[in-house]
């Protein structure tokens, strides 16, 4: 018998080698108690959270929690059904209304996760013989959506406008083309030049989809994302997003002004063949989304936090993923996985949690300590965070 797991032997070996150096397993942290969007107890120690994507700190919002509790009482703990059968309750429709209000768009469709939203929409839009043109650094859910739809995949160099244009021009003029972009790329926290890219897509007859997972609620005057910030939101065909970041719960969605959009409910397999989200989750999401529409002050404070952390880390001598703060993600580039893991552990010992990101999730085989800020981090906490980075960086010889 061939052991089907033997193909993972190199990865098992790499993990064993890493753990043998004495570092804790960075991929099995447990939060024993969560005190707020920015503080949890890990290994019995109070820890500042700087790697949660909880950008707007909505997870402990009173109104959000109350809405969830009420819906749990009124509608029960789950739907036990697909959105197209018995799984659409009024909170699901209300959540889609909240999204339409938030984006000022005609249609909204809620999926059980953001991953499934990309999987479902991309595979249903681009089938065999169609082309998906994507940034090489696209999220796994985008690649998986391409594979699921059997589309031809054409990748271009990260954020390279000219490379995108060249490839679009080489494709058959009459072929179906979907260009998939992200507003903020989650590994380095850099923003896409959407203004130029969307224009080029239109000129070359391609439809466009932008994943705003890491910008919703924060970037743009109304928090609609990088599309809004760069003034191209009306030219984009589909926007994909998630509830598991700024919104502070779980779920995914697609919004669009396309007149035929509603048919997607019947043809997206990850929408049809899975249970819908619990009504309590829908109630927390819609309450949070409506509050995010009027959170200009929180957005301003989050920008202050992000800029302060970026400048502070750069001044300490760390190498960062972007020349300036472009989003709420600040990526610290580490020389290799071993030193990255050592630094991660030293930070945790100081009382700070960040994400350790490693290949193949990262671009250019980089090991990253990825920091994501929250609007609920106080200025004092950002100062504390910088102090922890300085102490840990000196302890492991990273600075």
């Amino acid at each position: 018998m061939t052991d089907l797991l033997s193909k993972y032997d190199p990865l098992i070996q790499e993990r064993e080698t890493l753990l043998a150096t004495g570092v804790k397993d960075p991929f099995s942290l447990v939060m024993e108690e969560v005190k707020s969007p920015t503080v949890a107890i890990c290994n019995g120690k109070e820890t500042i959270l700087l790697g949660t994507y909880n950008y707007m700190g909505m997870t402990f919002d009173d109104d959000v929690q109350q809405a969830g509790l009420q819906a749990l009482k009124d509608f029960g703990s789950g739907t036990t059904g697909s959105r197209v059968l018995n799984g659409t309750y009024s909170p699901h429709k209300d959540c889609e209304e909240a999204l339409k209000e938030f984006y000022a768009m005609d249609h909204a469709m809620v999926f059980s996760t953001g991953y499934q939203a990309n999987l479902g929409i991309i595979s249903a839009l681009a089938g065999k013989g169609d082309y998906v043109i994507l940034d090489i650094d696209s999220h796994a859910s985008i690649y998986d959506g391409c594979s699921m739809g059997n589309a031809e995949i054409v990748a271009f160099r990260h954020n390279d406008v000219e490379a995108l244009e060249k490839r679009l021009k080489r494709l058959p003029a009459d072929a179906g083309k979907l260009v998939v972009l992200e507003g903020v790329y989650s590994m380095l926290g850099d923003v896409a030049p959407l203004k130029e890219m969307i224009r080029i897509c239109k000129e070359n007859g391609a439809m466009t989809l932008v994943d705003e997972a890491h910008s919703m609620g924060f970037i743009g005057e109304n928090g609609r994302g990088v599309c809004e910030e760069q003034g191209v939101i009306d030219d984009v065909d589909f926007i994909i997003g998630t509830f598991s970041k700024s919104v502070g719960t779980v779920g995914g969605f697609c919004v669009s002004n396309h007149p035929k959009f509603e048919i997607m409910r019947l043809v997206c397999r990850p929408y049809v063949f899975t249970a819908s989200l619990p009504p309590s989750v829908m109630a927390t999401a819609s309450t949070s989304i409506r509050k995010l529409m009027h959170s200009g002050n929180k957005r301003a404070h989050l920008w202050e936090n992000s800029k302060k952390l970026h400048k502070g880390l750069r001044d300490l001598g760390f190498e960062l993923g972007t020349p300036e703060a472009q989003s709420a993600i600040i990526a610290v580039i580490m020389p290799d996985l071993e030193r990255g893991a050592m630094m991660w552990q030293a930070l945790l010992a100081e009382g700070l949690y960040v994400n350790l990101a490693r290949p193949p999730a990262t671009p250019a085989n980089m090991t990253l300590l990825r920091c994501s800020l929250c609007a609920e981090h106080t200025t004092e906490q950002v100062d504390q965070i910088l102090g922890m980075f300085e102490a840990a960086g000196k302890a492991v010889g990273a600075i």
Partner: protein, 81 residues
């Protein structure tokens, strides 16, 4: 249109800057095994080949191309279309 020999010569010239180990290039020289390229190098090289011949090599096609000879054949086919 270009002959396979001409295509092969151009492909070899494009491999040059990425051939850090000075591996001798034959039809059955593999990119992953012999040249030891990682995914990032492959991406840069594919972009160079695409620009040189003004073609698109989709990721679906790339998955089927393992060695230099297969690449030259694929380029010839794509230029023929």
């Amino acid at each position: 249109m270009a002959s396979r020999k001409e295509i092969m010569a151009k492909v070899e010239a494009l491999i040059g800057p990425f051939n850090n180990k000075g591996v001798e290039l034959k039809d059955d020289t593999t990119f992953a095994g012999d040249l030891e390229w990682d995914s990032l190098t492959v991406m840069d090289f594919v972009a160079a080949v695409e620009d040189e011949f003004d073609i698109i090599i989709t990721m679906n096609m790339q998955a089927e191309i393992e060695n230099v000879g297969q690449l030259a054949d694929a380029v010839a086919k794509l230029m023929d279309q």
